[in-house]
Subunit: 348 residues, 4 copies
Amino acid sequence: MFFASDNWAGAAPEIVTAVVRAFSEPPVPSYGRDPSTARAEALLSHVFEREVAAFLLTSGTAANALSVAHLTPPWGAVYGHAFAHTLSSECGAPEFYSGAKLVPLGGPGAKITPGGIAVAVASARRGDPHSVQPATVTITNLTECGTLYTPAEVAAIGALCRAEGLALHMDGARFANAIVASGATPAEMTWKAGVDVLSLGATKNGAMAAEAVVFFDPARAADFLYRRMRGGHLLSKMRLVSAQFEAWFDDGLWLKLAGHANAMAARLSGRLAAKGVRLAWPTQGNEVFPILSVEAAARLRAGGAAFHDWGAPDLAPEPPVPSGHSVARLVCSYATTAEEVDAFVKAA
Amino acid sequence: MFFASDNWAGAAPEIVTAVVRAFSEPPVPSYGRDPSTARAEALLSHVFEREVAAFLLTSGTAANALSVAHLTPPWGAVYGHAFAHTLSSECGAPEFYSGAKLVPLGGPGAKITPGGIAVAVASARRGDPHSVQPATVTITNLTECGTLYTPAEVAAIGALCRAEGLALHMDGARFANAIVASGATPAEMTWKAGVDVLSLGATKNGAMAAEAVVFFDPARAADFLYRRMRGGHLLSKMRLVSAQFEAWFDDGLWLKLAGHANAMAARLSGRLAAKGVRLAWPTQGNEVFPILSVEAAARLRAGGAAFHDWGAPDLAPEPPVPSGHSVARLVCSYATTAEEVDAFVKAA
Amino acid sequence: MFFASDNWAGAAPEIVTAVVRAFSEPPVPSYGRDPSTARAEALLSHVFEREVAAFLLTSGTAANALSVAHLTPPWGAVYGHAFAHTLSSECGAPEFYSGAKLVPLGGPGAKITPGGIAVAVASARRGDPHSVQPATVTITNLTECGTLYTPAEVAAIGALCRAEGLALHMDGARFANAIVASGATPAEMTWKAGVDVLSLGATKNGAMAAEAVVFFDPARAADFLYRRMRGGHLLSKMRLVSAQFEAWFDDGLWLKLAGHANAMAARLSGRLAAKGVRLAWPTQGNEVFPILSVEAAARLRAGGAAFHDWGAPDLAPEPPVPSGHSVARLVCSYATTAEEVDAFVKAA
Amino acid sequence: MFFASDNWAGAAPEIVTAVVRAFSEPPVPSYGRDPSTARAEALLSHVFEREVAAFLLTSGTAANALSVAHLTPPWGAVYGHAFAHTLSSECGAPEFYSGAKLVPLGGPGAKITPGGIAVAVASARRGDPHSVQPATVTITNLTECGTLYTPAEVAAIGALCRAEGLALHMDGARFANAIVASGATPAEMTWKAGVDVLSLGATKNGAMAAEAVVFFDPARAADFLYRRMRGGHLLSKMRLVSAQFEAWFDDGLWLKLAGHANAMAARLSGRLAAKGVRLAWPTQGNEVFPILSVEAAARLRAGGAAFHDWGAPDLAPEPPVPSGHSVARLVCSYATTAEEVDAFVKAA
């Protein structure tokens, strides 16, 4: 009953096989000048239905921090949800890479809104050197509450960004889950909705360590290769990452893996609800957030269930979390089984 | 005939097998709290014969930059060879992470000397706020010219560092090759000789992407976990790295792989010398630096040999590199075969 | 009718005279090794009734940014009021110098509270590398709403800081006004209440450009001279700043100047209130915040009054600012005259 | 006999008078929106015979560091003489502000040459992310050896910069002395010779604390106001600096002051030479570098002479500095008297 995180899982067999194959081949140029990296980059252009500039790496935090830094001057303001990983859980990596100020916004379900962004932007003093200058918006899809920005919601934020001259970054650590959940194409979820740069994460969805920074306007990626190198994020044996992406995109594997994870979450969510367990936020992707009594949580853990408490009760919908209860986060992955789900529900 | 770099090679079968096994196991905690990471860290303490604090990551540049940053205040001076990777080939990553000034020193064979360091330190004005303050020395072993710092040479630098209150960092991207070449133990080459922090690289020696920052005084590693995270270098599925290290140290694999690479280099070097080819620097590890005519280099490449020119003629011993010639770098790896070597020598 | 800011004023005659005298003297050592700087530093120890380490400079923003940077590791969290100058009006200077994350807190009258800090600290995950680590609290006294932290209020925050292992910084851009307003001694307002470092500003209170970073524990100031230099804040002809401080402290000038400014604000505040003008926040120092109709504000400006709108209606006490009204900020200085005050009140 | 530095001197009476007048005037807008700042900026455009964008501040180190940072991306290389103040005596301020790598070059008399720059640029690997990318050249005029770059020499460097796509910065801490020494116009010495940005220092030449960053292409100054603010270098009572510049440029005062200092240096130099004292470098501005025996230096200091040893014997022309001797630096200022000069010569 492993629901602690999708990064507790191993790797999908297809990914493992691809890595084995890649490292059994003859020598290839290092630092991303190998054929596999070229193929992975081409696949990204294919998947997103336009020429993109893509940069592979092994860390999602790095993908976010480098992206934000490339879009934002040191005196810029970056708007994101207070609860977003980029703001709350990266130990200031975006600040380190960019020098900019991350401005925390609110919003139910860990989602920011055009209205909330507009208020924050309006409170900045443009042209006044005392004030950091509005520069970038960052959204996470799926969010840290497992909720989904629909393409229409992204597009509304994108339109505001265009109007205000802001760049739009999407943290796609669970992008595949969002794609499956929304039914949108990758293009519809990103550049067609105004996203400038995507941190695309494969790691949580069946890979070992495979992330990509995807610029939808290749011109905007100028000099990014220096920024990545300078952060120590240019791998010498890049085939390690590119092989994972090749396999991930092969025959729609990425969507199959995410589809399975989402389906397991739906099963878990539905059966918990059927038992009367209240959920803090709706289940839209691969994460389920039941409100459990302290006793129930302890009993489940004693029975072998692994999951985290999720410390954002103020983000939960009304009515508030009852005393003696807390919000738990259950994450399904490509590897979650129906048996695990059912065992958990039974024990709950 | 692949002699371009040891990071063009794939990965040793034992490493591949270990990664496959690691990712086929059940879920484990993420971010390095898994059993494999604990085992890898324990192995590092065992190999170095003392309790160390070790931090695993996927990039050697990151290992160097993070190490230097942890040892040096922003107003510090870091002394290293002008030709060292840390100074010449990391796009300023050490400066980015530390804020400090990297002071380039000279020295034959890309090796700095206690005397050279002492002169540089003496020219700094201690206590004068106008001057960066002497803080750290960084050496690379093997060097970028394939030469070896013997334990005695390291110890001489270490003694100077102690006397001057400087920290000593070793970039061990080819540490295994240096160990084999010197016959020293890992302890003798590092902390017994005064090294405070080692960037230990497995990647060039048969791994996929496996590096470690090793603090020989664990107290000095305080807060390093935040520094690593903040740089985006804390992997979520850390077993990817730890499994490589487990296999690398298992049954002395790391020394076998490096021993093979060094032996191939010795064979290459000896046979080239026997044919009258002059070497820029002595072959002490897994790298050979013949001085080739432009025509010979072109002919070899046309025949399928992959290698780089090495742009440091001013570091070559007397007499100077003749006009129409340049220094080539030939790197042997765990995967180099005697047939490759002999084919190259024949074609030379 | 100049109420735009206390930094629109010129300089007190005593300050001007001191600067003239200083620059008419024979050559003296540069970079702060002159006798006047030594005297100014000694005066600071005298005024604060203990041995302090003081660093003079010309910018209050620099004083704040350097102080925060010296107290906070790059992965630290700095807690302050969202409306504090340090967070809202320094274009990210504290982030630039420290690398840390400035965490905005709320609180009426631009004052943070021990309870508010405690909640924020509790929400950080100590020891978890994903989370910035609680490090520093910064308070501004007088605040940006002209309100006063009493010594008891500072001490309550100081006690929390001690208990939580946090450093406490005070931005004293209007420190003299706060001292006069509170009746406390400088020692009672600072180190006796747990303040570790004070940015002491003379500029707004009759000087030309004179600020000091004051460490109440000199040991904590180690290496600060490098940090100041590295930021470009070590003046070569330091007598410019030290002469101002010498005059400022001479015969209690600093308190006389602030006392005058506070008295003018009290006169202004009292007479406005007597005319039925509502104030957003109580007048405790040299700033008055009347709630004016748009028409009244325009009429006053047309009549020659200079003042700023103050964009923090959400900080005003209940009931909310009526539609068609806004909060104005009127700042009195050492140079404000009773005639100016009365003319403004008459026009209001 | 004060020859320690031109920043040991006080301020010229005209400067003092201007500051007194400025601070006796009625309130004016702060942060550089006052009439005096506008006038000073206009004067700079007038003096340089073109529309410039100028930013006033109180520190020459800040002027240099901010300029370099604005011209150079974080992954850029900045070429300058190893002995230049920017590289040797600013505690890494340029690195702090820019993140870039300062690459030390050689050259007699502390002057770099087009040839030296070209070699350094050629050794960088353009487009290779491992290598910092050539971006900026910085020269100091007068140099730290008191030598002059003639407009023709600057133009030769400027031409190379254009050809290589590099920006050219001039540290003009002693710009007035260079102008007097060269007979060139300010325009000829700067933008007509290819200089993009000048750090113009008045402090060493009779001011209290007055420096300006001058962009000869105003478009290039975009966003510089944020960079200055973020460094804490936007003065609130800017009239302090602007009044100094107004007086400095009034009726050619700046050239009169520099002319006096240069003349005193010429007198000192000529008379020392006449007594057989050897000079390390030719006297071209306001600095004289006699080679003195240890005994002579001690005797002079005992007699009341203040001067510094100048630790760059390797920069002296052949033959080398004899054993038991060292290079002294004697700096004349606007305030140096012929009596001081003659007394020194007599005692030498």
